[in-house]
């Protein structure tokens, strides 16, 4: 029973959505199902926060290694949550000046906005900026022209790297107009439009077929791995 009902739910939800693609009468039903899905996706964010809270509270109470960082994490989590859900420091919307809850949660100048602007934004952006360094060291340590395939990869990468900056324009600016097709900036465009399009198209077709067949198996209840492994079932 515990397994059967989820299988039916999956099957019905999937079939409704597929049907709504082909049958106009089912479109309204498809919309409603999708909206429920969107709301549930909102709950997933709450679940994510809850899980984080649970894991780190446990870490703190167990005094596990690095529990001090968990305290910092919990503090920043709870402060952000408090100022955000409480709309602390948010002024009313000009349309409803007597309702202090009517303002928007991320109003400029509010503590929630401040946390975004001066903590969230620099931290996430810098995390990703580190990739520029890693890509440099990867270039130095990992890209070896050991066979034909690697030579093709690196050669293409060079053309793109040069062709998508002004360096490419200089390097081949001496080529006459009749050979303009060989200018690096034009070569990079051809590579993108011909080889990259062909290769990417083959990859996305393959992945689309994989996704479609997996979806089909899930809807039909053939593939149940998302329900957890069979042995963990009580």
């Amino acid at each position: 029973m515990k397994r059967l009902i989820p299988l039916w739910i999956t099957a019905i939800a999937g079939i409704v959505l597929i049907a709504s693609y082909f049958v106009p009468y089912a479109q309204g039903l498809g919309e409603l199902t999708s909206i429920w899905f969107d709301i549930l996706a909102g709950f997933a964010f709450i679940l994510g926060g809850g899980n984080l809270l649970k894991v780190h509270l446990k870490k703190v109470s167990d005094k596990a290694a690095g529990w001090g960082y968990s305290v910092i994490l919990l503090a920043s989590f709870l402060i952000t949550l408090f100022v955000g859900l409480g709309k602390i420091g948010v002024h009313p919307s000009p349309d409803y000046p007597d309702n202090s809850w009517s303002g928007v949660y991320n109003e400029v100048g509010s503590p929630f906005w401040w946390l975004y602007e001066y903590a969230f934004k620099p931290l996430t952006a810098t995390m990703f900026a580190m990739l520029a360094f890693y890509i440099a060291s990867a270039s130095f340590r990992a890209f070896r022209a050991k066979n034909v395939e690697a030579v093709l990869l690196l050669g293409t990468a060079f053309i793109i790297l040069l062709g998508r900056t002004f360096a490419g324009v200089w390097l081949t600016s001496w080529l006459p107009e009749s050979l303009s097709g060989l200018k690096i900036e034009n070569l990079s465009v051809y590579i993108m439009q011909v080889f990259n399009t062909a290769g990417s198209r083959a990859i996305i077709i393959g992945i689309a077929l994989g996704i479609a067949s997996t979806s089909l198996k899930v809807i039909l209840g053939v593939d149940r791995s998302y329900l957890g492994s069979a042995r963990s079932e009580p």
């Binding site: 995390m127 990867a138 593939d223 042995r231 963990s232």
Partner: protein
Amino acid sequence: MKLHLFALSVVFTSLGDAPATATPAPASNLIAQDHRKWDDGTRIDLAWDLSADDETLVAAYRISKALARFGDFQVPLKFELVEIVKAGTGEYTVADLARKIRLENIKTKYADIVDIESLEATNQKTFPVAYVFQIVAVGRDGATSAAATTPPITPTMEWFDGGRFWFLIIVVIFCGAVIFFIQLARGGRPLKVRKIAGLEAIDEAVGRATEMGRSCLYIPGILDMNDIQTIAGINILARVAKTAASYDAKLEVPTSRSLVMATARETVQGAFLAAGHPDAYRKDLIYYVTDEQFGYVAYVQGMMVREKPAACFYMGAFFAESLILAETGNSIGAIQVAGTAMPAQLPFFVAACDYTLIGEEFFAASAYLSGSAEELGSLKGQDVGKIIVGLGIIIGVIMLSAASVILDGSPGSPFGTALLNAVEYLKQVILT
């Protein structure tokens, strides 16, 4: 078709300038009927006989629509422009119409033209909508003819969207193929799948790690169990674990999700059992690190530098961390085998690893190893999909190329035109 600018400017100049000299004759026999093809009830087809002056005076036809009724309640007609079409055009499909309108929308938009109270009195929440359409011939100098108007009409919704008929057929063929092959495999018929070259590299890598007396590292991606790439990664883990068990090599699996850890433990334990070394299985080598992407990578990176595993396997869904992992692995001189269906990360694995399972190949490897009827069957079904693509492209391209050569040699050749029409049908009707 979009002639807005041109035709509007014609209309506007006529308003400002001297009175028009020649008024074109109106279009006649304007007919409105529900869209010919099956649709979702948002289209009406219009057809009309061209104005008598179509070839001389008329520049364009202006098509307008107006609401005529909410249910049984008449509404004063207020026409709004739908489109302006070139002279010589005798039909048009008006799209994006409504069949019903909600009372509250009538209240906000049409309160000035209809008596809301009497609508409310019916206790209906929605009202069927009827439209009238009007067509006016616009002369070259801007003069407009008398209008031709249709009686009120409501679009109807069919039970099936005809525009997607061919798509449905292709979906059915593909899904049918997948189900067919799964049943075939379940019935015990062996399905042949080609050898996947990367799989030998796995055995080799484990073997070398054993020789060197160092460990193997296995990363099943950073997504949770609900991602098919993680599942494929776990299937391949089973094989790696089996090889490691038979060679008596140490296998370490740090994971980024607790659920993945639980599944990986079961899988590895099973593999050690199957290889006949259940006692060699060590639970604590398969552990959860953190969900946070960079935190996880930072940990794995540090661990790799300290322990220097001789073989690294990256099998699953990866994002920006792919290059950090591959680069670190390279710097410690490990043999690396990767597999992922993340197109953006493939370059890094391909360049830095000794062997990479690319995209679909990764799933194929997983199916090949798991040997399960479902996976092998769906792989075969996917091959059917690829045959459809290949045949479709080859036939279409040959026909189109032939048509363009024939029509270039002898313009208007009936065979060439027929070919061209066939390709157009293929592209515009079947493949959209």
